[in-house]
Symmetry: C2
Subunit: 111 residues, 2 copies
């Protein structure tokens, strides 16, 4: 699948997953992978920068957690602003996909 499609929706997905439960980068990628039906394999090079800029924009908060096996995880949780932005982005997504359906929905034969 063309990775460019994810542009603009990655943040919504992150916000959405975090709205259900706090999570950390690695787990978040797995959650999205499974929930998307193996369709979205979030790359570290997009995921981590996204988390960082979202924190800069105050959509997320983070805290470190040490596991028993001496691994460290950086958990993220939604801020009130993050919750607000999620709502906005979900609405935008609905509008967007309706727009696409409107254009593609015309009857014709592809080939």
């Amino acid at each position: 699948m063309d990775p460019k499609l994810l542009t603009g929706t990655l943040e919504m997905l992150i916000l959405d997953v975090l709205a259900r439960a706090d999570s950390y980068g690695y787990e978040l990628a797995q959650t999205v992978l499974i929930a998307s039906g193996e369709r979205f394999d979030l790359k570290e090079g997009s995921l981590y920068p996204a988390l960082h800029r979202m924190q800069r924009r105050k959509l997320l908060r983070s805290y470190w957690v040490n596991t028993q096996d001496r691994r460290r995880r950086k958990y993220y949780s939604l801020t009130p602003k993050g919750r607000q932005v999620l709502k906005t982005k979900r609405n935008e997504w609905t509008q967007f996909s309706r727009g696409i359906q409107g254009v593609l929905g015309q009857t014709y034969v592809v080939a």
Copy 2:
């Protein structure tokens, strides 16, 4: 609506409109505007470069048409390759939106 959402779908929309009938830039933008329910207002700075690169990639052919009132229009038509790519992109879009629905489809309360 966040313009980043359009990334990766603009070419599909262009191909789709042209699959029904040849068209030119200005008209194409209007067609998409109306078909999308006023949601997608394609900007010249994205539309024309997109048409040019799609022609470079042999997805489109173009020909000039002079109207009675001395205006010139650059019509575009799909090549066989363009038709093929449209099919691919429509499939990708289906997979993509299923992926999104899979992630968003979880039951929870936004706020």
